[in-house]
Amino acid sequence: MKRSPGSCTGMTNHKRLFRTAAALGVCVLLSALLSICLGPVKLSPAQILLALFEGDRASTSARIIAHVRLPRTFASLLTGAALAVSGAMIQSVLENPLAAPNVIGVNTGAGLAVALCSALMPGAFAFLPVAAFLGALAGVLLVMLIGERTGASRLTLVLAGIAVSAVFSGAIDMILTLVPESLSAYSDFRIGGFAGVTMQKIRPAAVVIGAAFLLASSLAPQMELLALGQDTARSLGLRVKPVRILLLTAAAALAGAAVSVAGLVGFVGLIVPHAARKLSNGEGLWLLVFSALGGAAFVTVCDLIARTLFSPYELPVGIVLSFLGGPFFLWLILRRKGGRGDA
């Protein structure tokens, strides 16, 4: 008897996807718990519960949790989710698995806007995510335009992005040289990290990230069609250009908001979507969900490693990510060159 491909296979696939999402959800919770517990002062889950629910907000552990661990954990979860989802979207829209936000100038575009904003309006935290979004949008649209106008190949597009990134980077350096007090922790910003992050800084970014994620989710089916190539997507009835711009706007908002909190954190948007794509079978909404959950857990764990590896000294999380992301990027390129991948 012939099996109907729409029924049994579909059900099994969906069960597997839900299970994967649940497993990633558990990873997020565990990483968050570890992030709150571990540090120079180790706290047990019981102490955390007491501090959160007993109301003794004056105790040392309660203050550590409220002012250090919780903001830091929220920041790493949010930043990781935002950058990974942003990377997944940019890769789908540009049909290029190498196009991560930090590679093609999206992060540095946002960084430039943050540096400019900090130099001109010190202390205007609420405006930072908006400025970062505009900078990131400028970066991603510039790369998209270069690709459209020149018909650049996938690899050329990445190289163009690297060039755009270098120009933005130079501009950031110039601002920080001329106005050194604009960013108090210059090297932390360049490398990317969560030291000294506050809820005041996180709140506006969280709003932007939430809104951008909703927009991205509503466009997930269209994003999936874009991955088939422009001609196929258009022949299936998709208005390619407006959808691309909407998706890139959402991706820029996500990356921009993340940069406004954590600085130029790199490679999350490259590594996590790659794994999420495998787990999701390329299904748009699941790709976004897995990227968000995977990115949140991944950055939180990396931050945990960064601040506990040489404890009591702390590394910015960007260093750990660079050690992981650099070789991964190289592997992706070599895999292409070797002809073993379609990427």
């Binding site: 099996r3 491909p5 029924s7 296979t9 999936e224 088939l228 196929t232 009835g237 998709l238």
Partner: protein, 258 residues
């Protein structure tokens, strides 16, 4: 019905199509042949609105194509492009995308959609590949997966650009048979083919392009005896009749054999 009236198109500043007038008739297999770079793919892309025309008119059911939204066009015309991405999805998922133009909001697949997709997989001869990732397939299997997606669109007109690339002879013949079945169901089937014997075997009419111009449009019988094929391709088309009807083959001119 899709119709081109004196359509011109340019590619990279160079004229790619010149005053093409052509009707894609329902119930007919129209095969477009021509040397490399003669404008075959550009013709299909222009007919679908993927490539802008510089002059002329394209009519869909008697109305200018521009009056139709991309989604309305996609319900009426499906297109298999010459170059295709290899996405990270399963065959089933790819074929499901063929239903996109028919879906409302929120985009949920109905039982009817799943039935149509199952039928498309069957017709393309790949029901067993449904759960396989596209990336794990051979070139020919990928070709069939995309063909199934095109079939799932359930459009009145199918524009298939080199659908036999990567297919072995048996599967090429199966595709030709499928094209004939689709035409017998009243669909307009347009194939861009390089294999002359297959083109002559499957076509109701053949459009011959050269340098962006339509230089012949005729039934295979009429074009068979035309010297123009020999001039364009450097081969002489021949045929023998057996129990399967006319079988075409070609003999190569001495100057092509170096």
């Amino acid at each position: 019905m899709l119709e081109l009236c004196n359509v011109c198109s340019a590619y990279g500043g160079r004229e790619a199509l010149s005053e093409i007038s052509l009707r894609f008739e329902p119930g007919e297999v129209l095969v477009i042949i021509g040397p490399n770079g003669s404008g075959k793919s550009t013709l299909l892309r222009t007919a679908l609105g993927l490539q802008p025309k510089t002059a002329g008119e394209i009519l869909l059911d008697g109305q200018p194509l521009e009056q139709f939204s991309p989604r309305q066009t996609a319900r009426k015309i499906s297109y298999l492009p010459q170059f295709r991405n290899v996405p990270d999805i399963t065959v089933q998922r790819l074929v499901m995308h063929g239903r996109f133009p028919h879906m409302g909001y929120p985009r949920r697949y109905t039982a009817q959609d799943r039935k149509i997709v199952a039928r498309a997989l069957d017709r393309a001869g790949i029901p067993d590949l449904a759960a396989r990732p596209i990336k794990s397939l051979s070139g020919g299997q990928r070709q069939k997966a995309y063909l199934a997606m095109t079939l799932a669109q359930e459009s009145e007109t199918l524009l298939l650009d080199e659908p036999t690339t990567y297919l072995d002879v048996r599967h090429q013949l199966q595709l030709a048979a499928l094209a004939r079945v689709l035409a017998s169901e009243g669909k307009a089937v347009v194939l861009v083919l390089h294999e002359l014997p297959l083109a002559f075997r499957v076509a109701d009419r053949i459009a011959l392009l050269d340098g962006g111009r339509l230089i012949a449009l005729a039934v295979p019988e009429a074009l068979f005896s035309d010297q123009i094929l020999a001039e364009l391709f450097g081969v002489t088309l021949r045929r023998v009749r057996d129990e399967g009807g006319w079988q075409y083959y070609y003999s190569i001119h001495a100057d092509l054999e170096g």
